[in-house]
């Protein structure tokens, strides 16, 4: 495989928690613009894998490079500034602030306006315009003045993704964006994800196979902390190893 198109390169990754190996010799690549779904049974290590990439945890061994630069062990804010943004499985927003402010904080960060004292945030026309653009994109522009914590669950999930999108990452990582959603909410959020992440690399953990097949062009199956199989959807769905390890046990979704 040509190395030039590779955005995220993970080689021989390990993570143990007090002797329990959660990630065990995991190797995986994400190319530019690739739509990559991570599937696997509960407890396979998918969220731990996300936490290792985004700096919440430090790997025990192995390397993670993004655009050819090593990022393993970096602080989360530095990894984000390199162009990786993530959402969380459990809704992780700023509940006591307005919806607008939730998105605007991410826009400010993206533009590198962090400690500037020269202007009030409300007077920054470009920041507020970009905030409104993101709000429209996620369909929350009419609710911008409400407290984020007062939104209904589906809207909070959309906001969660919106915050991640607003930092304009090269790669966006979504951890079960449809968890706990109704069928209609799932349909809406999937079309929103599809619309808003065009052109970006997408790494998504998902249990709902319909969602996986509608969004992903590559699927990797993680089982016992390592990649069991990786490839296009039709290859993965016919792989006997995958059927045995994953689809056989956990077909409920």
């Amino acid at each position: 495989m040509s190395r030039s198109g590779i955005l995220l390169d993970i080689q021989g990754l390990y993570k143990d928690f007090r002797g329990v190996e959660v990630i065990n010799n995991l190797t995986l690549c994400v190319r530019k613009g690739e739509r990559h779904a991570i599937i696997g049974p509960n407890g396979a290590g998918k969220t731990t894998f996300f936490n290792l990439i985004t700096g919440r945890y430090t790997p025990s061994r192995g390397t993670i490079s993004f655009e050819g630069r090593p990022i393993s062990g970096m602080a989360p804010h530095r990894i984000n500034r390199m162009g990786i943004s993530r959402s969380f499985q459990i809704t992780n927003i700023f509940p006591g602030l307005s919806v607008l402010e939730n998105i605007r904080s991410a826009i400010l960060s993206k533009k590198g306006i962090r400690w500037s004292f020269r202007r009030r945030v409300s007077a920054m026309a470009d920041v507020n315009r970009e905030t409104l653009d993101v709000l429209k994109l996620i369909g929350l522009d009419t609710q911008h003045h409400l407290l984020a914590g007062s939104l209904d669950y589906g809207a909070q999930r959309a906001l969660e993704i919106g915050i991640s999108l607003a930092t304009d990452p090269k790669m966006i990582m979504l951890d079960e964006p449809t968890a706990g959603m109704s069928i209609e909410e799932t349909r809406d959020i999937v079309s929103m994800i599809d619309r808003t992440t065009k052109g970006k690399a997408l790494l998504i953990i998902e249990h709902d196979m319909d969602v996986v097949f509608s969004l992903a062009d590559t699927i990797s199956v993680i089982h016992y902390g390592t990649v069991l199989a990786s490839g296009p959807p039709d290859v993965i769905s016919n792989d006997p190893k995958v059927k045995e390890a994953y689809l056989g046990e956990d077909k409920a979704c």
């Binding site: 943004s85 969380f88 006591g96 004292f117 009030r120 945030v121």
Partner: protein
């Protein structure tokens, strides 16, 4: 969003009232207002951590006291002007803020509270024992120097001039603190209160940002300390002791940390209550403690919180009566 209702008119009215206040009240009351203004700065600096940042500090008196000592010692030994002395008080508070902040802003919750308390006691004991510099429990007395502006000399010993000087410093400080809440750093402070982890995952260095905010809070506490020392022409360990540290917490809590001006209301209320009760009842601290307990139990958002919920109810009733 709530602030959009908040127009400039009430602020201008209050400033106008404060400007003509010396015509309206006695010198004794004027001194009371000076105390209120100084404590307002102190409480607002505390609220950067408490209300806006979500950090409960038990050691904010350290920066107030350190600033006070710095102002007094430097004015006394180097004959600095008063504005310079107070500015240095602020810088001393900021210096102490960054020094201790390196350690305390790593902590959250109980650890944060206990570590700030420990650092406060460290500074308190230092002030008590290092007699050659601080005068120990006797403290240091000094003369409030006059203000030289161009060829003019303004006698700051006169209550009226001193009042206007404190008013000017207070308006500048409160203006800066308010503006700060509208800047990216001020908004980030709220984000970190709400969800610090999320803030770091969208690219903010939360440790460095917390440290900067802690340092700025130390600066304004130091300015308030310098002003307080210049007011009393005296500094002693009571500027740093635990009473001072809990006083500022109480003021902020009583007024309510959820709004910008809550701590100002708290500072005024506590100063007023102390003044009234101490002349009536010998053990007024018990009454003060009782009031505080009632507020904690029944109005956890303080006086400004009571006001906001009353206004909300009022709005609801008004809408109910005349549906548009």
């Amino acid at each position: 969003m709530r602030r959009s209702r908040f127009t400039w008119l009430p602020i201008l009215l209050i400033i106008a009232l404060l400007l003509i206040l010396p015509k309206l009240v006695s010198e004794y009351r004027l001194n009371l207002v000076i105390t209120m203004m100084i404590y307002s700065i102190f409480a607002l600096s505390y609220n950067m951590l408490f209300g806006q940042g979500g950090l409960l500090s038990f050691g904010h008196a350290a920066y107030f006291g350190f600033g006070a000592y710095a102002t007094v010692i430097l004015i006394k030994h180097f004959s600095l002007s008063l504005p310079m002395g107070i500015l240095i008080g602020g810088l001393a508070g900021a210096f102490l803020g960054v020094t201790f902040g390196v350690f305390v802003v790593r902590m959250r919750g109980v650890s944060f509270a206990l570590l700030t308390l420990a650092f406060n006691q460290l500074i308190y004991v230092t002030a008590e024992k290092w007699r050659t510099v601080t005068g120990g429990e006797d403290g240091i007395a000094f003369m409030r120097p006059n203000l030289h502006l161009g060829g003019w000399e303004i006698d700051l010993w006169a209550t009226l001039n001193w009042y206007y000087f404190v008013l000017l410093v207070t308006v500048i400080c409160i203006g800066c603190l308010w503006y700060l809440t509208l800047t990216p750093l001020g908004r980030l402070n709220l984000c970190m209160r709400e969800n610090e982890e999320r803030a770091s995952f969208i690219g903010f260095n939360t440790y460095a940002s917390r440290l900067l905010i802690y340092t700025l809070a130390g600066f304004f506490a130091g300015v308030a300390g310098g002003l307080a020392a210049a007011f009393q022409e005296f500094v002693t360990t009571t500027f740093i002791n635990l009473d001072k540290a809990t006083d500022v917490l109480m003021m902020t809590f009583i007024g309510g940390g959820g709004t910008f001006f809550g701590p100002v209301i708290g500072a005024c209320a506590l100063t007023l209550v102390n003044d009234l009760l101490s002349s009536w009842i010998e053990r007024w601290a018990i009454v003060q403690g009782g009031l505080f307990i009632l507020l904690v139990l029944y109005a956890p958002n303080g006086l400004s919180g009571i006001y906001l919920s009353l206004r909300e109810q009022w709005d609801k009733r008004k809408r109910g009566e005349q549906p548009s």
